[in-house]
Amino acid sequence: MSANVSAIGFFTRTRRAGRIDITDILSWLWLIGGTLAVLVPVLWAGMSSLKPEAEITRFPPTLLPRTAVQVEVSGFDKPLSLWTVTVDGETREVAMVRRIGLKAQMVDPANPGKPVSVDTRSISPVQRLTVATENYTDPLTRFSFLTFLKNSVFVTFVATLLTLIVNALAAFALSKYRFRGDKAIFVLIISTLMIPLTVVMVPAYLVIVGVGLVDNLWGVIIPTVASPTGVFLLRQYMLTIPDELIEAARVDAASEFRIFWRIVLPLTAPALAVLAIFSVLWRWNDFLWPLIVLSSRENFTLQIGLNAFQGEFSVQWHYILAMTFLSLIPVTLVFLFLQRYITTGIAGTGMK
């Protein structure tokens, strides 16, 4: 049988390798087109974030970040812009004094005494490649970007740590004990999957008001700690840990907490890693709930800060794009290094 199957496999393989089907070409077009569709808007925002303020809204846009070169010319108060002029077949770099209709008055920076008048159609601006690092450094110093960043890191870290511990404890109880109501409690926890935040956001906010956590980072963290996805993921994994290990530890008079902390938890590490990655992504990208809970600027997370910033400075795209790109970096790193864990996690639970 197996020889038969491999023979068929071999047969079909040689047949396929012999020619390139039209569907192969269409597949490649689809995949390359899709990759471009994913990358182009992201890379375009990245390239734009390196452009100086004056250049960013130039239309049609240039691909690379460039600025017009300016020179100091003696006898003029302000620096003048540098242009290339072709006069009598000779190309020279001259500074523009003023522009009147189709004529422009130019001076040679080395010899500013004699202005000449040239046709504006024969000149083009001198541009140099410049990277506007101030787009990145200004928000770090002048705006509250660092505060937003600090808040986001705090929320992500603390919420993830609590998520792991609280849900691992619950998963341990639901996978390694038989007790009255264990099935009912499991169903109850899983049933909360059916209640999305959007349905309970108004009353959940009222609860937050009641416990005094409005405009407080803990008000963002605590309501999201208990996670049905987390309990489900960890419980399924813990079920595969042999009960004999736990029985042996009980014989050695280990306490129940020690069994959890020193035996079950270390063995659950792969599932904990998957949950940790999910949790970091949830918190880092979370928007609606922090938007409701946080109201003062010093408590904003990165996402809320970005949103507020684009509302206030809607024309300052050079800053907005730079900050957008900064907040993209951690997620991109997670993606590059941990992509495999995430895809397995999604395939395993069907959740995200």
Partner: protein, 329 residues
């Protein structure tokens, strides 16, 4: 157990030292058999306070009026909130409704769900079918399509806003083709179109992954048998692949509907809060605005709308669970 070696081990030891004594004291007090209740307690308390209590509150608030926060200060208004939301001369014309914004939001959401579900499902299915073929650099392409799923909705909203800007790349490209520039996000039709485009761009990688897992579970010998019978590719697709993927497709369909009904984050950032006008105001944004934006603070009306949306989502989820059971068996 092995001796503590690395940093994680030492961190575990430290917590153990801090918590072991009090927890063991509890264990002696209540006995080993009751310990699982202690382990479940933090989780259940949090679910109780932040999930089950809010459901009770939502239902309670839906029957009260006024702008006060405390339920004891709020006048009981019976079914007034629901009556207000559901009073319409014609449900097809939002302007004829007492709460016209609610119905505008409902119709916007329905149109969005229709187009978004169809487009996402189609794109994800085609991509999954292609990625399931023996094609070079499969892992790279799968990762590429998945990348946007990880990004924040705010970042995606901003990136696309810039891409579609009057001075953005799309207009530059159109100009090369001789098409006059367009301010896409200020046009009713274009802005709705691009809300769907951005949503598909954002989420299709997730559904592709689920469909791909379904495709890879189809037994290989079925395809080998089809090859022996010299079945055409389209026949293989419609007679083997799609019927066997059917249950997965249904689950994805319902999941996609549940998520699409709740559209808010990326659309809110992209369209500057539902614009132009109310062209992209969806149902979650309606609830958000009634309860939190400005000075309205109509918690009763917002709760009533939440309860109605919750019922729709509950029906969809129950359908999904039934289908999910069928897929497993």
């Amino acid at each position: 157990m092995a001796r503590a070696t690395g940093l994680p081990d030492r961190a575990l030891d430290l917590v153990m030292a801090l918590f072991e004594a009090p927890i063991n004291a509890v264990e002696r007090l209540i006995g080993k058999r009751r310990m699982p209740y202690l382990f479940l307690a933090p989780n259940l308390v949090l679910f109780g306070i932040f999930t089950f209590l809010p459901i009770a509150i939502a239902i309670g608030y839906a029957f009260t009026g006024g702008a006060d926060l405390l339920i004891s200060d709020r006048p009981f208004v019976g079914l007034d909130n629901f009556r207000k939301l559901l009073t319409c001369d014609s449900y097809l014309v939002p302007g004829s409704c007492e709460e016209s914004l609610f119905w505008t939001a409902i119709w916007n959401t329905l149109w969005f769900v229709g187009f978004n579900v169809a487009a996402t499902l189609l794109v994800a299915l085609v991509t999954a079918l292609i990625l399931n073929r023996a094609i070079a650099a499969r892992g790279f392409f799968r990762a590429m399509f998945f990348y946007p799923v990880l990004l924040s909705p705010v970042v995606i909203g901003l990136i696309w806003k810039w891409f579609l800007d009057r001075n953005g790349l799309l207009n530059a490209f159109l100009q090369m083709l001789g098409v006059p520039p367009e301010i896409f996000l200020l046009d009713v039709g274009w802005s709705r179109f691009f809300v769907v485009v951005v949503s598909v761009w954002f989420h299709m990688g997730f559904y592709t992954l689920i469909l791909l897992a379904g495709l890879q579970a189809i037994p290989k010998d079925l395809y080998e048998a089809a090859a022996i019978d010299a079945a055409t590719p389209s026949r293989t697709l419609f007679r083997i692949t799609l019927p066997l993927l059917g249950p997965n497709l249904l689950v994805v369909l319902i999941l996609l509907m549940i998520r699409s009904v709740q559209i808010f984050d990326e659309a809110w950032v992209l369209t500057n809060g539902g614009g132009p006008g109310t062209a992209n105001t969806f149902i979650v944004q309606y609830i958000y605005q009634m309860a939190f934006a400005g000075d309205l603070r109509l918690y009763g009306l917002a709760s009533a709308a939440s309860v109605l949306m919750g019922l729709v989502l509950l029906v969809l989820t129950l359908v999904q669970l039934r289908l999910g059971k069928k897929v497993e068996s």
